[in-house]
Subunit: 364 residues, 2 copies
C-alpha cells in the first residue's frame, strides 16, 4: 500500500493506493471517523456499478454504515444540471444530513458530479473519492469539482477537498485499452511539467503501464498524484502556479470541442495539445529536440500526436478564444522550456499558435 499526503493545511488528506482496497472501504471510513448515525451516499455510474457498487456497499454495511445509492449514466452527459438535481433528490429522500458523507465511486465524471453534490448539499458535507480509472488520478487531487452548463464545460462548481482518496488498482485492470492510454497522458504530463526523471520513467515503463502491471502502475499513480499534490498545495485556488497543470489543455479542450465530445477523448486531445505546447516552446527558444522527445513519450504510451486533417484550424482557434483560461483578452499558454520544466507565458502570439495548430496536422 502506498500513501500520498496532499498538504492543504486543515484541508489536508491522504490518497491510499493499493490492490483490493474497495473490499476494505468500511474500515477506511471507520478510521476517518465518518459518522454512522447519518446516511452515506454512494454516487457511481452504470458501468462501474457492476461489480464495484456491491463490493463497496457490502463493506460499508458490514461496518455499520447506512448506505444510499445514486447510479447515473456513464459519460460526460451526467455532468448536467438535471442529473445533478436528480442526485440531490436522492440525497434528500435518503435523509442525508449535515454529518453525512458522499462517496464518488468511478472516474472523473462521477468524481466531478458527486464532488459538487458534496460541496453544495446543505452548503457542503464530507466527500470521499474512490477512483476507478487512470485519468481519475489527476482529478482526485486538488478539489476541483464541477458540472457543465449547456454553453460551457465545468462552468458551475466549487473547490471541495475530499476526506481521503481510496485508489483500488484492481479496478483498472478491466478498463478498455483506449481509456488506460488516455489516462497515461495526464500521468506523463506530471513528468513533463515538473520532473524530467519521471517523464523518462514513463517512457521506459510504457509497456507495463499500458498493460496495467500493478507494481509499475502503482508507482506511476503515486508519483503523478505526488507531483500534482505539490503544485496544488502551493496554490490551491489557481492564482498562479497551479496553471502549469493545464499543459496541453488549451489546445486540447479546443480539439475536444471541435471534434465533438467523445470523438477524441480528453487524454488523447491533451496528448496532441502537449505536442502543440512543445512546438510553441521550441519556437520560443526551448531546448532543441523538445518536440521529438515529447512525441516519442506520448507515442510509446499509445497516444496520438498528430491532429486529424479534418479539424478546421479556424474553428480550433475560435474554440480556444472561448476557453476560460483566456483572461482579459490575452493568450496564456503553459510553455515547455525543456522536459520537466515549463513557464506560464501570458503573451503568446496568436499567429504563432495558429501556425502551430497547422504544424500539428503534419505527419511525422
Amino acid at each position: 500500500m502506498r500513501t500520498v499526503d496532499v498538504q492543504l493545511g486543515e484541508r489536508s488528506y491522504p490518497i491510499y493506493i493499493g490492490e483490493d482496497l474497495l473490499q476494505q472501504a468500511g474500515n477506511y471510513l471507520d478510521n476517518h471517523h465518518i459518522s454512522k448515525q447519518s446516511p452515506v451516499l454512494i454516487v457511481t455510474d452504470e458501468h462501474v456499478a457492476d461489480p464495484y457498487l456491491n463490493i463497496v456497499e457490502q463493506s460499508l454495511t458490514a461496518s455499520g454504515f447506512t448506505v444510499v445509492t445514486a447510479i447515473v449514466g456513464a459519460g460526460e452527459q451526467s455532468k448536467s444540471m438535471s442529473v445533478f438535481e436528480e442526485v440531490m433528490t436522492k440525497a434528500i429522500q435518503g435523509g442525508l444530513d449535515r454529518k453525512s458523507t458522499v462517496i464518488a465511486l468511478g472516474g472523473g465524471v462521477v468524481g466531478d458530479l458527486a464532488g459538487f453534490v458534496a460541496g453544495s448539499y446543505m452548503r457542503g458535507i464530507r466527500f470521499i473519492q474512490m477512483p476507478t480509472s487512470v485519468l481519475a488520478h489527476d482529478s482526485s487531487v486538488g478539489g476541483k469539482v464541477a458540472i457543465n452548463h449547456r454553453l460551457a464545460k465545468n462552468m458551475i462548481g466549487v473547490f471541495h477537498q475530499p476526506e481521503f482518496v481510496l485508489y483500488d488498482l484492481t479496478t483498472l485492470q478491466t478498463l478498455p485499452k483506449r481509456e488506460i492510454n488516455a489516462g497515461l497522458a495526464e500521468m506523463v504530463k506530471h513528468g513533463l511539467i515538473w520532473d524530467k526523471e519521471f517523464a523518462y520513467w514513463c517512457l521506459e515503463h510504457a509497456e507495463e503501464l499500458k498493460s496495467v502491471d500493478m507494481t509499475v502502475m502503482g508507482y506511476g499513480l503515486e508519483k503523478g498524484c505526488s507531483i500534482k499534490a505539490i503544485v496544488v498545495s502551493r496554490d490551491e485556488r489557481e492564482n498562479d502556479l497551479r496553471a502549469i497543470l493545464n499543459l496541453g489543455h488549451t489546445i486540447g479542450h479546443a480539439i475536444e470541442a471541435v471534434a465533438g465530445y467523445g470523438e477524441i477523448i480528453h487524454g488523447e486531445a491533451i496528448s496532441i495539445g502537449m505536442v502543440g505546447s512543445a512546438l510553441i516552446g521550441e519556437q520560443l527558444g526551448g531546448e532543441p529536440g523538445l518536440v521529438d522527445t515529447t512525441r516519442r513519450m506520448l507515442t510509446a504510451l499509445g497516444l496520438p500526436t498528430v491532429l486529424p486533417e479534418r479539424l478546421d484550424t479556424d474553428r480550433i482557434m475560435e474554440a480556444m478564444m472561448h476557453d476560460k483560461k483566456f483572461q482579459e483578452g490575452s493568450m496564456t499558454f503553459i510553455v515547455p522550456k525543456s522536459i520537466g520544466v515549463v513557464e506560464i507565458n501570458h503573451n503568446v502570439d496568436y499567429d504563432l499558435v495558429r501556425r502551430v495548430v497547422e504544424q500539428l496536422k503534419e505527419e511525422v
Copy 2:
C-alpha cells in the same frame, strides 16, 4: 456613514450603512479594486430594478465598469434551479471570467441566488451585496448563500463571503409596512440572543423603526449586523455557537411550511417562533416574565405573536421533524434563559414542544 467590520481572517469584509450610497456604487467598487477589464453582473428582481438598477448601472458605467444585468421575478420562486441556470446563462453570455464580480441588488432572495451564482461560477468569483430590505441586514452577514430544491428550502448552496456590503437606507423607505416589520423581527432577535440592552432599545424605538427614521434605523441595522458579525466570526461554518442565530426558526420554518409559503412571511413566522422559544425557556427554568417581555417587544414592532388556530399542531410537529436542524434524531432548540441570553439545548422533549405549539394558539 456607519461601518461594521465582519472579522473572518482573510475573508473579512466591511458593511457600509448610510443614505444615498447606491449613487456612489462605482466609487465603492473602485476602492475595493474590482477589475474593470472583466464584466460585472448585477442580479436584481423586477420590483427592485425600477428605480434602483438604473442608479447602480449608471454609477458603475460612469466609473468605467462593463455591466451585465439579470432581472429575476420577485419572491422565493426565484431561488429555483431553473432561475439559477438562467442567471448562469446570462453570466456566460455576458462574458464573465474568473476576475469578474457578481452584485446582488435586492433582498434576501436575490442575495441568496446571486451569492450562489458567485460562489459557483467558474468555482467562485467575487461577490458584493447591496441589500434593499430590512430583512437583508441579517442575510448579508455570514456568507450563507443557497437556492431551493423542490423538496426543501436552502438545500443547495455554499459559504461565500462578499467583498463588501453596501447598505443604502434610502431604499428602505419605499418598502411595504408588512415587510419592514418582518425585517425588524430579525433585528430584535439579535438583541434577544446576545444583547439585552439592544432588545430593550428596539422596544423603546419601535415607532421610529417602523416608520424608517433614518438615524434610528441606521443604528438598529448597525447593531444588528454587529451582533451577527460577532457570532459568525466565532463560528463561520456553524459548528456550534452560530446555531443561536436560529432562535425561533425551528418553529418558524414549520409555520411557514404549513401555512404555505408567503401566507405568513418569514419574519412573522419567526416572531411567533420566538414566542414559542420563550415559552420553552420559561418552562425549563428561565427568568420569570420572559414570555411577556418577548411578546411585548414583538407586538410593539407590529409583529404577530399568536399562532392562527387553523394551523394543525400535528402538521407543524411533522414539518419540524423534517427541518435540517434535527441532527441524528434529537430535537435541538435555541432556548432563552433571559432577555439577551440563550442556550443551545440538544435534548428538548418532544411533548414539551407540542404543548408549546398548542399554547401559541391561545390569545393573550
